[in-house]
């Protein structure tokens, strides 16, 4: 209908007849601009006769020119947010007799500042949400439960045909879905109200062409039923749950619908004791003659470190991360424990702290490959925070348990200088759980024939928010590494400057 004539028709007491959302939208805008209250308007859906017994179809619609006096535009053009418009458009596909009147009421309330009309907690809002949900649900069900049957080649295109009885007006948007899904393969979908055909290049919408499901003998359907019978686990039979997922009106057009009752009763009669399909159980079976030793997959022997069970951390970690560097390095750097990245890769200092450490090496004039890098604790200790793993400081007992491995590394590498990164490393290296970072920071101390230099852990620099403190901590690390290097030249008896 002509939107411009809408106001005049309302004034003349005539019903507005619309057939599509776009048409309704144009009319509704016109009415809103003239501030026509919803109670004054009667809406009819095209094709729905006698929606209002007392309003016969008008002989001739009033023309735009004879708008009665007093019906001049009084309101600015409405600004309806996109989200609400999308909801209205969806709700317009819902087959309820008063759909246009209801949508107009919603939009009129919005225009008058009642913005909670969009909330499901409002009475109209709740209905709007329910209508949108019903339509989306119908679209979804149609995506899910349409079953195409293949037509014989000699019948010509379309190659596939399906029949569906939708409860709402969703065929046009559902056709778009199948257009993308089927590519160049031709198909048609028939419903009681309309049909749509895809010729491989474009969609053709027509009136009803089919009146029921195509009676086609499709060999593909037998394979599907075989699959459906076999994928069912009779030990878990729960027909009620199945029924709750698929409303009963769909079953009659699903090929599997016909075999469900027998499957359910068989399962309930005793087949439920195991999960196997009956037909498979009847076939003859075979064990695989292979010796257990030959079945073992070839894999690298896990390292002794990986098999360490001295504390419980291994359970939550991917792998143990051992030290790495020259077998006879003069400087050994001891960190706290591997982090998230190190745990995944199995290599020490490759995450953000490792990258920062590289910058410290560079500033101190050292080469990473000349230094042996390891950690006081070899498994990553963490706690969940949302979907991430958050570093957690290892407990003293875990540090002590892991000392076994650090001792082995020390005995084999025999470094002249150990650089301890942070408090945990310091405690472990000097074997004193009460050692304080602040007391040793930046200093060299003599411990068991070696120099131990203590600096911050690079994570501290990443963590500390203050730029000045970051800078300061970086300097402490660089100076510490320089000190470590200078100690290599110094005889052990001479105290550091």
């Amino acid at each position: 209908m002509n939107a411009a004539a809408a106001v005049a028709m309302v004034a003349a007491g005539q019903p507005l007849v619309v057939s599509s959302f776009l048409e309704w939208r144009a009319v509704a805008r016109e009415l809103l601009v003239h501030d026509v209250a919803p109670e004054l308007v009667t809406w009819n859906q095209v094709g729905v006769l006698d929606a209002d017994l007392f309003s016969g179809a008008p002989d001739s619609a009033p023309s735009v020119d004879n708008v009665p006096a007093g019906l001049t535009p009084t309101k600015p053009a409405p600004h309806i947010p996109r989200a609400l418009m999308d909801m209205l458009q969806s709700a317009a596909c819902c087959r309820v007799p008063d759909r246009w009147a209801f949508l107009y009421r919603v939009i009129w309330r919005w225009q008058h500042g009642e913005h909670d009309v969009q909330s499901p907690a409002d009475a109209d809002g709740a209905r709007l949400h329910a209508m949108v949900k019903a339509v989306r649900r119908e679209e979804h069900d149609m995506h899910a439960y349409i079953r195409f049957r293949e037509r014989p080649i000699e019948a010509g295109p379309p190659q596939f045909a399906a029949w569906f009885e939708p409860r709402h007006d969703v065929l046009p948007q559902v056709a778009e879905h199948f257009k993308h899904r089927m590519g160049g393969v031709t198909w048609m979908i028939g419903t009681p109200e309309a049909s749509v055909m895809w010729d491989g290049a474009s969609l053709h919408h027509t009136g009803p062409l089919m009146s029921s499901a195509a009676d086609l003998d499709d060999a593909g359907e037998a394979l599907w039923l075989t699959y459906y019978r076999s994928i069912f686990n009779p030990a878990r039979v729960n027909a009620q749950l199945m029924q709750s997922h698929i409303p009963s009106r769909f079953w009659k057009n699903l090929p599997e619908g016909a075999i469900v009752p027998a499957m359910v009763s068989n399962a309930e009669l005793g087949a439920r004791s195991t999960g196997q399909a009956q037909a498979v159980g009847r076939k003859s079976g075979a064990t695989i003659p292979i010796a257990p030793a030959d079945a073992q997959p070839e894999r690298q022997q896990p390292s002794k470190l990986d098999e360490c069970r001295r504390c419980d951390l291994w359970q939550y970690a991917t792998q143990a991360v051992g030290g790495e560097g020259p077998k006879k390095a003069q400087i050994m750097l001891v960190g706290e424990q591997p982090g998230d990245q190190e745990d995944l890769a199995g290599k020490a200092f490759i995450g953000p702290a490792g990258k920062l450490l590289d910058r410290v090496f560079e500033a101190a004039g050292l080469e990473r490959r000349e230094i042996y890098l390891t950690n006081a604790v070899k498994h990553f200790k963490w706690e969940p925070r949302g979907k991430r793993r958050l570093h957690k400081t290892p407990a003293q007992r875990e540090v002590e348990a892991c000392h076994y491995w650090l001792d082995k590394e020390l005995a084999s590498v025999k470094p002249k200088v150990i650089v301890a990164l942070g408090a945990t490393a310091l405690k472990s290296v000097i074997g004193n759980g009460n050692a304080k970072l602040g007391e040793s920071l930046g200093k060299a101390i003599r411990h068991e024939d070696r120099w131990v230099v203590t600096v911050y852990h690079p994570s501290y620099i990443l963590r500390v928010p203050d730029e000045e403190a970051k800078h300061q901590a970086f300097k402490v690390m660089v100076d510490g590494l320089k000190l470590a290097q200078s100690l290599l030249e110094r005889p052990p008896e001479e105290p550091p400057a």
Binding site: S119, G275, Q319
Partner: protein, 410 residues
């Protein structure tokens, strides 16, 4: 052997993998130009449900159920006397194609018994995915089971074609895997998950790089085949979610198998327990609960009340909660109010105060929320009732003890 016989055997062999999800893939469509078919909407579609109430979204089959491993809980173990079959690559491709065009499925979930070696088996799985994608330009969903001991290069290749990869953790503890799946190894399973996560991280950092499993990775744990309790199971799930950024952990209640070995139970599947684990898992993934909050002590999740209600009953200090004041995250912790309604309540608050009737229109479970919320016009009379009383009121009705549980189980 006829194709239908193979399908019968290899679908039966695949049913114990719970996952059938087809969500999370990027949007894809076929325009017909490359001769391909298939589309993904990102949402995933369940095309049918079988009488066990499980959805059929993917064609879920094994490439073969010949298997050299001897996992005690598995119907396809080498010592099991089941009929054996093997699909060719072309047969799987044809089945996928034919089922897809009839709108039975959203794609393929392919797994396999271990034949010859891990690498050989993985190569076969990858060959199917490669053929579907590169020869037939199939754009539907593909989920590939990953063989943990396979070469990381093969896993990387699998990720190029598959939307989702999964490595099964199989059982909740290291010891159970060692005992019941002697050829499997938790260490290599975790390494495989770790290598997939690193690939996913790389892809996230370089979005223009080659595609890698855009729907992420998942895993499956069997519940009830060993003696692990729910606390152990949820801790393992939490460890896996945190470490490998899994999209999902699937819990599969152990179904008794024909000629069951003595090492696994003969009891019917613990379905309600499985259901409670899924509910708890949902709270871990979406609601910010930790495993420690849901299961502070050893044991299993309560069967009479859901895990969120159980948490609320054990943590009454948070309740009754004023819905006009609490933040969305806390509102979502109220039994009977989900994430979506929590957000809607907060949205509504910007317009006006929340009233009791609003909650009814939001379709909250009114009986359940009644003792736990305060609104502008409502204060619960039950607010001070003991947790025991509330539990009796809100939980499932008590069942009469079964005098002959053996008979019921048989």
């Amino acid at each position: 052997m006829k194709l239908s016989d193979k399908l019968e055997i290899l679908a039966d062999a695949a049913k114990y993998d719970a996952s059938c999800a087809s969500s999370g893939a990027p949007k894809r469509a076929s325009d017909g130009n490359d001769g391909g078919i298939g589309a993904t909407t990102g949402m995933g579609i369940c095309h049918s449900y079988t009488p066990d109430g499980r959805c059929v979204s993917l064609l879920k089959i094994l490439l073969t159920n010949f298997c050299v491993y001897d996992c005690q809980y598995c119907v396809n173990r080498r010592t099991s006397n089941v009929p054996r079959a093997r699909f060719s690559v072309a047969e799987v491709v044809k089945l996928t194609h034919d089922f897809y065009l009839r709108n039975y499925i959203d794609g393929l979930f392919l797994s396999s018994g271990i034949i010859q070696s891990s690498d050989y088996t993985m190569e076969q799985l990858v060959a199917v995915a490669r053929t579907l994608r590169e020869v037939h330009h199939f754009k539907g969903y593909i989920h590939l089971k990953t063989i943990p001991d396979a070469d990381p290069l093969l896993i990387a290749e699998a990720g190029r074609y598959a939307d989702r990869l999964s490595v099964n953790i199989e059982l909740p503890t290291h010891d159970s895997v060692t005992r019941l799946a002697p050829e499997k190894n938790v260490h290599t399973i975790k390494l495989a998950m770790g290598s997939i996560r690193r690939k996913l991280d790389e892809k996230a950092e370089e979005p223009k790089g080659p595609s890698f499993a855009p729907a992420g990775q998942s895993t499956q744990m069997i519940v009830g085949a060993d003696a692990s309790d729910d606390q152990t199971i949820l801790n393992t799930a939490e460890t896996l979610y945190g470490s490998y950024k899994l999209k999902r952990v699937y819990y599969s209640a152990f179904s008794p198998i024909p000629q069951s070995p003595d090492s696994v139970p003969l009891a019917p599947p613990p379905l309600l327990r499985e259901h409670r684990l899924y509910q708890a898992d949902f709270l871990l993934r979406g609601y910010g609960f930790t495993a420690g909050e849901l299961m502070p002590a050893a044991g299993n999740l309560a069967l009479d009340v859901d895990p969120k209600l159980a948490w609320a009953l054990a943590n009454r200090e948070h309740f009754p909660m004023d819905l006009n004041r609490a933040d969305a995250e806390m509102i979502a912790r109220v039994p009977g109010i989900g994430l979506r309604n929590a957000k809607r309540i907060v949205d509504l608050r910007r317009l006006r105060r929340v009233r009791w009737e609003d909650l009814s229109r939001l379709r909250c479970s009114m009986k359940k929320i009644a003792p736990f919320v305060v609104t502008a016009d409502y204060k619960p009379a039950q607010g001070l009732a003991s947790s025991d009383l509330l539990r009796r009121h809100l939980g499932a009705p008590q069942e009469q003890m079964n005098l002959w549980p053996e008979l019921k189980a048989a």
